[in-house]
């Protein structure tokens, strides 16, 4: 009676709990490192981290990032480096949220927030510009009117990239070695990460020698 067993299985399902969440009303918790809409981060003093190096644009497989770098004005620099990204655009009709730009960035300027619920009604609006991507003065991502931000989603939008072996050196696996940022300072390590206060950029060369 193999066939009838199948009917019993489907009939029993009628009285079981549903696994589907009623999405718009009830949302499943998002993973900590979900790849969502990008943010451009700033240092604690308000300087932008982006130095206009265009590595993100170079590595982007979807060719959705457009960056132009320019020399910093000497009297009013935008970033602590020599240059700054004066144009920074991401086309979200092309972006596949692979996070390669985040991995390529040498200064942790671009990271991804957990926001994926945003919409637009024409193609021009799909292109986020520098003004929209930059974090606000409190260090949190801007909450734009067409985006659906939920409680707590703007908290962990950065400062975890270099926790995984910067420069590919296994010595630094799990070691916190990131720069401070606006609104947070140097972020506390996450679960499974070590704090190494003595690690500084100068030490990296000696670590490689060892």
């Amino acid at each position: 009676m193999g066939y009838l067993e199948g009917f019993a299985v489907t009939f029993k399902k009628l009285f079981e709990d549903r696994v589907t969440a009623p999405y718009p009303e009830q949302k499943a918790p998002k993973p900590l490192r979900l790849h969502g809409r990008h943010v451009l981060n700033r240092y604690e003093d308000g300087m932008e981290k982006c130095i206009g190096c265009e590595l993100c644009a170079g590595v982007c497989p979807a060719k959705c990032i457009y960056v132009r770098g320019a020399d910093n004005p000497p009297d009013d620099p935008v970033s602590p480096g020599e240059r700054w990204g004066f144009i920074y655009e991401i086309n979200y009709l092309r972006c596949i949220h692979c996070d390669l730009c985040v991995e390529a960035c040498p200064t942790e300027a671009i990271t991804e927030s957990k926001l994926f619920e945003f919409s637009f009604t024409n193609r021009q609006d799909a292109i986020y510009t520098r003004d929209e991507l930059l974090v606000g003065d409190d260090g949190k991502p801007q909450q734009l009117p067409w985006e659906d931000w939920r409680e707590g989603e703007d908290l962990f939008s950065s400062a975890w990239m270099r926790a995984t072996a910067s420069a590919g050196n296994a010595e630094y696996e799990g070691v916190v070695a990131w720069s401070g940022e606006l609104g947070y300072g140097v972020r506390a390590p996450e679960q499974g990460q070590r704090v190494a206060p003595d690690v500084s950029p100068g030490d990296e060369a000696s670590a490689e020698e060892r």
């Binding site: 066939y3 199948g6 009917f7 299985v9 489907t10 009939f11 399902k13 009628l14 079981e16 709990d17 549903r18 696994v19 589907t20 009623p22």
Partner: protein, 401 residues
């Protein structure tokens, strides 16, 4: 014969007929809407999902929302379509779907001397739109016409997947119609009438007279299976097998033309359930519990129909799709011979009964015939086996199977 149509035809009679037509039309449309919602909801329940739940309470208005959407979608016409036929095909599907329900008696008390007659606004009539003398043949004819809708839709689309779908549909529907017709024939044989009203009347006295028992369950089971195949529903939905041929015959249809196919498909599910109930489960027969007699006929009828709607959805949620050769094997090698054999058996019993023979007298010739048949079958198998081994020996090839 419907008492409404005997004697002179008055304006009131025409009004009653029009009223019945409108009621059935509206009922079918609303029922289809609810059926689509019910199917989606029940299938999702059986798969631990929630299903549509946003439009209206429990999502009950979902089909209405989908229907409105269909009206506003672009009506695409493929470049290589044969436009005349392309436009005609959905109507060849939907019109038989509407017409087939007309012959189903949905109410009336058949138990006493009323003969199922009810009085509406002072006119005696049956609770069915029409009671043609050809009765159940009308249903078979319309389900054959519906094949044309599917076939022409696939052919006129000028595209390969619809063509494949319609070829499958035609082969499937034609093969299963034979089994369907043979199991209908057993019912006609038992009740001695083609009229659906007569068939219901013959089953009215007690549930032992229902054809599901009187005909010995086999014709009912065959009708249910062949009916599912006729409806192109899972597990017989090779016609629209999404994984293989996109949408089958309606791949190239969009907008309201697609909606017509969709409507026809679900309307056929309701009609098929109603026909099963009429043929095998006594139609509106059932105990009159309290209140007016007029009430209980439709209540029992729709309760029975609902059970079959549930069963059809249950089939869909449980059984995986047949392979094409399995489908043809089931139809031609199992259902048709079984239906034919059962029809012969019942016919023989009927002849003996008409001559006034008792049960043991009937059992003897049937038993003898059965033994002879088994013997013949054994001899046939033996002959085939011998021929096969001899041929293999002469060819020097190993025997498979």
């Amino acid at each position: 014969m419907d008492p409404l149509l005997t004697g002179d035809l008055t304006a009131g009679d025409v009004g009653i007929v029009l009223l019945k037509v409108v009621v059935v039309f509206v009922f079918l449309l609303v029922a289809v809407m609810l059926m689509i919602w019910f199917e989606r909801k029940l299938v999702s329940d059986m798969q631990n999902r929630i299903g549509p739940d946003l439009a209206g309470p429990w999502g009950i208005l979902q089909s209405l929302a989908d229907g409105v959407k269909f009206f506003f979608k672009e009506d695409l016409k493929p470049l290589r379509a044969d436009l005349g036929v392309f436009r005609l095909a959905p109507y060849l599907s939907i019109i038989p779907a509407f017409l087939a329900f007309c012959i189903v008696p949905i109410g009336g008390n058949f138990q006493g001397d009323d003969n199922g007659v009810v009085t509406i606004l002072g006119h005696d009539t049956f609770l069915q739109v029409a009671d043609p003398p050809i009765g159940i043949l009308f249903f078979l004819a319309l389900s054959s016409v519906a094949v044309y809708g599917v076939m022409l839709a696939g052919w006129s689309s000028g595209s390969k997947y619809p063509l494949l779908g319609s070829v499958r549909a035609t082969a499937q529907m034609v093969s299963y119609e034979a089994a369907l017709g043979l199991s209908v024939a057993t019912v006609v044989l038992l009740t001695g009438t083609l009229s659906t009203h007569g068939i219901v009347d013959a089953q009215a006295d007690s549930f032992r007279d229902w054809n599901i028992l009187a005909a010995g369950f086999i014709p009912f089971a065959i009708f249910l299976m062949a009916g599912t195949a006729e409806l192109n529903r899972p597990p017989f939905d090779l016609v629209e097998a999404e994984q293989e041929i996109v949408g089958g015959f309606h791949t190239e249809y969009s907008s309201i033309r697609f909606a017509l196919f969709f409507l026809a498909e679900f309307m056929n599910v309701i009609t098929m359930s109603a026909i099963i109930v009429t043929l095998f489960l006594g139609g509106p027969a059932g105990p009159q519990l309290f209140g007016p007699d007029l009430l209980w006929g439709p209540v029992w009828f729709f309760a029975k129909v609902f059970c079959f709607l549930f069963v059809f959805v249950w089939f869909r949620a449980t059984l995986p799709r047949f392979r094409y050769d399995q489908l043809m094997d089931l139809g031609w090698k199992a259902l048709i011979p079984l239906a034919l054999g059962w029809l012969l058996l019942l016919a023989v019993i009927q002849v003996f009964r008409d001559r006034g023979w008792g049960a043991p007298e009937i059992a003897v010739p049937i038993g003898v015939a059965f033994v002879v048949m088994l013997g013949g079958y054994a001899l046939l198998l033996r002959a085939i086996g011998t021929a096969r081994t001899e041929r293999a020996a002469s060819d020097g090839v190993e025997v498979f199977d």
